[in-house]
């Protein structure tokens, strides 16, 4: 398993998180603060452009140049370990780092762009950022600190039937670097276990993609939602209450489109969707609106909150 550091993090902002579920970022910050981790957020960091790139809107050279700029920023701020809130950022930045380190021709092209723009100081040197040693997903950092998280949880969540949805771009793309299982991903399950939650370890379609497919949701909407529906129905069969996520794209697909699918099939599915950071923050006692940001969810989360507040202080 790769080494996960515990300091000098650049918490990488995500466009989809900030636009759709800003509570994911504030929950993560809440947890990091409670854990006393050394991290910064930089206003100069730009969108990774992964979403646009995977949707065939941006070409690879541009996206790689953007990555080089962000890597340079992280290094210059002496927080070279990039920690991603979104699996798209995770996958595209790892890919870009590999390209910049191994493809001399592309690295030269990227550096020429910087030089032409009068930004020589942002040039990328081979080896500046390593895909395996400097780029992580937030969930990996949380997993690394799960014992401490265990001690900080205040609520007993064992009444909920919770299952996990692992992001494809985390598990399946750079699978040599995936932590805690590729064919049966258990990263979110083990993390949830730290909060005293016994998840549904396996269900039919556990490994199925959310169906988002970046532009597929727009260009092939029916097909995209078919895929989403498969997993939701399987979860319904298992009587799952909450589905935990690690990527805003998946969360959008399930949370925003579950009502649409329910209307299509004329059946209620009734599953609540939360990012694992939101769940952990809530479980540590964070405010549901100012920290977890549940007001931005399509499937209203107040019903589970009521259950939350009832099961207080059975403590650890």
């Amino acid at each position: 398993m790769k080494d996960i550091p515990n300091e000098k993090f650049l918490l990488f902002k995500s466009c989809m998180v900030n636009v759709e579920y800003p509570g994911i970022e504030s929950s993560t910050k809440y947890i990091f603060d409670k854990l006393g981790l050394d991290y910064i957020i930089s206003p100069e960091q730009t969108c990774c452009t992964g979403l646009g790139h995977y949707s065939d809107v941006f070409d690879e050279l541009s996206t790689t140049a953007i990555a080089a700029r962000n890597f340079n920023l992280a290094k210059s701020l002496d927080h070279p370990n990039l920690v991603m809130l979104c699996s798209t950022c995770y996958a595209i930045n790892k890919k870009s780092a590999n390209i910049l380190n191994n493809n001399d021709e592309v690295r030269e092209k990227v550096n020429n762009i910087f030089i032409e723009a009068g930004l020589e100081d942002k040039c990328y040197n081979k080896g500046d950022t390593d895909s395996r040693e400097n780029i992580f997903h937030v969930v990996e950092v949380l997993y690394n600190n799960r014992d401490k998280i265990s001690d900080l949880c205040k609520y007993n969540l064992s009444d909920f039937r919770i299952a996990t949805h692992h992001a494809c771009h985390y598990c399946k793309v750079h699978y040599e670097d995936t932590v805690d299982g590729v064919r049966n991903p258990m990263l979110l399950d083990d993390l949830a276990e730290a909060c005293g939650v016994d998840t549904v370890k396996w269900y039919d379609h556990k490994r199925l993609s959310c169906g988002n497919g970046f532009r597929q949701r727009f260009v092939n909407r029916d097909y995209s939602l078919e895929v989403t529906k498969e997993k939701l129905l399987s979860l319904k069969d298992e009587n799952v209450d909450i589905l935990l996520h690690m990527c805003p794209n998946c969360q959008i697909q399930y949370d925003r489109y579950q009502p649409v699918i329910e209307k299509q099939i004329g059946e209620k599915i009734g599953i609540y969707h939360l990012n694992v950071s939101q769940l952990i923050a809530l479980s540590m006692g964070a405010d549901p609106y100012t920290v977890a940001g549940i007001q931005t969810h399509s499937v209203k989360l107040e019903p589970i909150l009521e259950k939350f507040k009832e099961i207080k202080e059975e403590g650890k």
Partner: protein, 774 residues
């Protein structure tokens, strides 16, 4: 030009030079009379055909009547006739002779107007200087004890042991389990390469076991593991650990009364855990040795069995015994294990009872198995209505923990099991989901037969197996029809990959034998030297070497036995040009052991030991040893210096001389140039070396400083030392620069035997380059 000889001048040595006209092949182009005048030797004789019996008489008579000390034969290539002339110069030691190649590497490769005779004179001079440095050396005879250790008593080990025993060797057949027979004992039915039918595996195995048991030359040691192995020349000192059986096999009559009263039940590994056995047990009825054993890890030591045993054969306290043996050779036949289907969680092996492996299916269908041969679902004992087989589980898999290789036998195993089921249960539908059906040779006919039996085949690798209600659902894409299918079935069988066993990996470590990237035992050269490992005297056969079926295992076992017999028969004569250690100087730092690519060095009894059978004389250890404790027999250093001196000492001003050092492969390629009459410049003078690694910077610098215009080095890329030599070249070029000379004068090239035109071109190009440097 007169240059100083770099080695001691030995003027009192009497040398005889014998020149062969080679029926005109040499004498038509070389001016023999001028050659005779220009060289300096005690005796110079010319003859038309030196290799003939008359030639032998001339050489021998001259040696004896003139008390000659050394001989130079000026003739064709040593590759053709070295052994002949080494014999002809008796009573002189064979290593006191050198051959000058005036045919393949002189008269056949230069145009008429070239300075052929001058070159001939140079080459003969070089040879004369070289033989002055030669010493008489005797070949080393390695005798091996006439005994062999075969590790592993599956079909491969048993076959190898029987073959060796029948050839008169003493064999120790070592097996870690309580009985012999390996995987084949539990396989149920086996497929026959020629009959379109399945045969009883145990019926085929039993006579094989009987043969090895009855052969007096074989010592079978079961419940035994290998603790340590020390290798020294042709001998292996092996320490075995014999673990107690807790049942005296001489007394046990296999009545089975003890088993009835034993209170402990544990999963039966013979039936893949599908049924239970007792702590005191016999693996299967026909097991050899025919005795019970106690699994002490699970035994509760209640003593119920002791009370029941009428032969007083049971004891509950016992210790392992160390058994030392000495053998001349070791055969690794440690077999395989199967891929853990838990590593493919999507197939539900650990979740659903009715998802099983082919091995488990084999036990179920076996008449001596947990269901006495009835096809019963583990969950409820009913006959399945539809059975789906999934191929390539763990094989042809590039994802983490998968194996990229193909396990070779699973297609036939699946078809075999499918046919057995179809015969007995024609109403059970069988679907095989395959990647490719690999049934080469005669097996193709079996495949056709299977299709005709109604077995269905879908080309696609299933994604999931899930349970919906009472049934299992297999999701697969039928890639030939380009349709996604969901197959409802009530039983799934996984064809799992063959992997190297733990025993294989352990033995490789003990013996210092290399493993491939897939962790099977690595052969010295998989194409041309099968069953041989990179450690001399150690061989491998069966699935320890790679996945294969029973027939191939038997073949390989016999091959290994044959190789062992070769080294045992009369001992091995080893060329003496190997490394020698001065134990007074050696401080056992171990640097040489690490560096030796031939694994020739080890520490035995606190002394460094160099195995003459493995040492190739490459000289790497020489350069590594910081205390100069190593010396290589045969004076190669001095001989190289002397050859260079001889090549350059009479160089005239304005002449161009290029020295080309070639290994055996390169030299053969150069001969090929001659055989094909391809031409190259006469500036090229070829020097044959045992290993290119022996040509050191000091030789090259000396040559360049004393008249050589260019140095050409050719090595075969398949040589174990190739990459090291290639790296060395750059360092040598820097050395040349430090001596104020042009590094371009050193050329390194790859050589291959058939690539002789390429070599001739390289010679021409290099000569042109050197010319332009002037």
């Amino acid at each position: 030009m007169s240059i100083k000889s770099p080695v001691q001048n030995k003027s009192d040595i009497k040398i005889g030079v014998f020149i062969c006209k080679c029926g005109g092949n040499i004498s038509d182009k070389v001016d023999i009379e001028r050659l005779k005048e220009e060289i300096d030797a005690e005796i110079i004789e010319v003859y038309t055909n030196l290799c003939s019996l008359n030639g032998r008489k001339i050489i021998r008579d001259n040696i004896i009547s003139n008390n000659l000390d050394r001989v130079v034969i000026v003739a064709c290539s040593p590759i053709s006739h070295e052994k002949t002339f080494q014999d002809y110069i008796k009573p002189l030691n064979p290593y006191l002779m050198d051959m000058v190649n005036l045919r393949e590497q002189c008269s056949w490769v230069h145009p008429d107007d070239a300075n052929i005779t001058d070159k001939a004179i140079t080459l003969v001079n070089a040879s004369i200087e070289k033989v002055k440095q030669s010493h008489a050396v005797d070949p080393i005879l390695c005798q091996t004890p006439n005994s062999v250790a075969v590790i592993g008593a599956g079909i491969s080990g048993i076959s190898a042991a029987t073959s060796l025993a029948r050839q008169g060797y003493e064999v120790f057949l070592i097996e870690e389990k309580p009985s012999i027979g390996g995987h084949m004992a539990g396989i149920g039915k086996v497929f026959s390469p020629v009959k379109i039918a399945e045969e009883c595996g145990l019926c085929l195995l039993n006579p094989v076991i009987k043969n090895v048991v009855e052969n007096d030359n074989v010592n079978i040691l079961t419940n035994t593991t290998v603790k340590s192995i020390d290798r020294r020349a042709g001998t292996f000192s092996v320490v075995l650990e014999n673990n107690p059986r807790y049942v005296d096999s001489d007394r046990c009559i296999s009545c089975g009364e003890c088993e009835k009263v034993c209170p402990v039940e544990v999963p039966d590994e013979f039936n893949d855990g599908l049924s239970n056995r007792k702590a005191i047990y016999k693996p299967y009825s026909q097991a050899y040795p025919d005795t019970y054993t106690i699994d002490m890890e699970n035994c509760k030591k209640c003593g119920a069995c002791i009370k029941k045993c009428s032969m007083d054969a049971i004891y509950l306290e016992g210790e392992s015994e160390n058994v030392p043996i000495t053998v001349g050779s070791v055969i690794i036949a440690t077999g395989h294990e199967l891929f853990d289907p838990g590593k493919r969680p999507e197939y539900g092996y650990s979740r659903y009872e009715d998802v099983i492996t082919q091995s488990e299916l084999g036990r179920i269908m076996g008449v001596n198995g947990p269901t006495k041969g009835k096809l019963e679902k583990p969950s409820n004992g009913e006959v399945p209505k539809r059975l789906v087989m999934i191929q390539c589980v763990g094989s042809r898999d590039e994802k983490p923990e998968g194996h990229k290789y193909c396990s070779k036998v699973c297609c036939m195993v699946a078809l075999k099991n499918a046919n057995i089921i179809k015969h007995k249960y024609p109403d059970t539908d069988i679907v095989i989901c395959y990647t490719d059906i690999r049934t080469p040779g005669m097996y193709e006919k079996y495949y056709k037969h299977s299709q005709q039996s109604g077995i269905r085949l879908i080309r696609g690798r299933p994604g999931d197996v899930v349970k919906k209600g009472d049934n299992l659902v297999i999701r697969v894409e039928d890639t030939l029809q380009k349709k996604f299918k969901e197959i409802e079935a009530d039983m799934v069988v996984l064809s799992t990959a063959i992997e190297p066993s733990q025993g294989t990996k352990d033995m490789a470590k003990l013996l210092n034998v290399g493993l491939t990237e897939d962790m099977f035992v690595k052969e010295a050269h998989p194409k041309i030297k099968p069953v041989t490992t990179d450690v001399k005297g150690v061989y491998v056969c069966g699935t320890a070497q790679d996945p294969k079926d029973i027939t191939e295992s038997i073949m390989q076992a016999n091959a290994a036995a044959s190789k062992v017999s070769e080294i045992m028969h009369d001992g091995i004569e080893v060329e003496p040009f190997i490394a020698e250690i001065d134990n007074e100087i050696c401080n056992l730092c171990g640097d040489c052991i690490q560096m030796c690519k031939y694994k020739a060095m080890s520490v035995i009894d606190d002394e460094l030991f160099i195995d003459p059978m493995s040492c190739s004389g490459c000289g790497k250890c020489l350069t590594i040893c910081q205390h100069n404790a190593i010396n290589i027999n045969g004076n190669v250093d001095e001989k190289i210096f002397a050859t260079i001196y001889g090549m350059l000492k009479d160089k005239k001003p304005g002449e161009r001389r290029i020295l080309a050092f070639l290994d055996n492969i390169g030299y053969t390629a150069a001969d090929n140039i001659g055989v094909n009459r391809v031409q190259y410049p006469d500036t090229i003078h070829i020097i044959k070396v045992i290993s290119v690694n022996r040509v050191m910077p000091k030789h090259i610098i000396y040559a360049l400083e004393n008249g050589a215009d260019g140095i050409f080095i050719g090595e075969y890329p398949g040589d174990l030392m190739y990459s090291e030599v290639e790296r060395k070249m750059n360092n040598i070029r820097n050395d040349i620069l430090d001596h104020n000379m042009d590094p371009e004068r050193l050329q390194f090239a790859r050589v291959y035997i058939p690539y002789f035109r390429g070599l001739a071109d390289k010679f021409k190009d290099f000569d042109n380059k050197i010319q332009s440097l002037e």
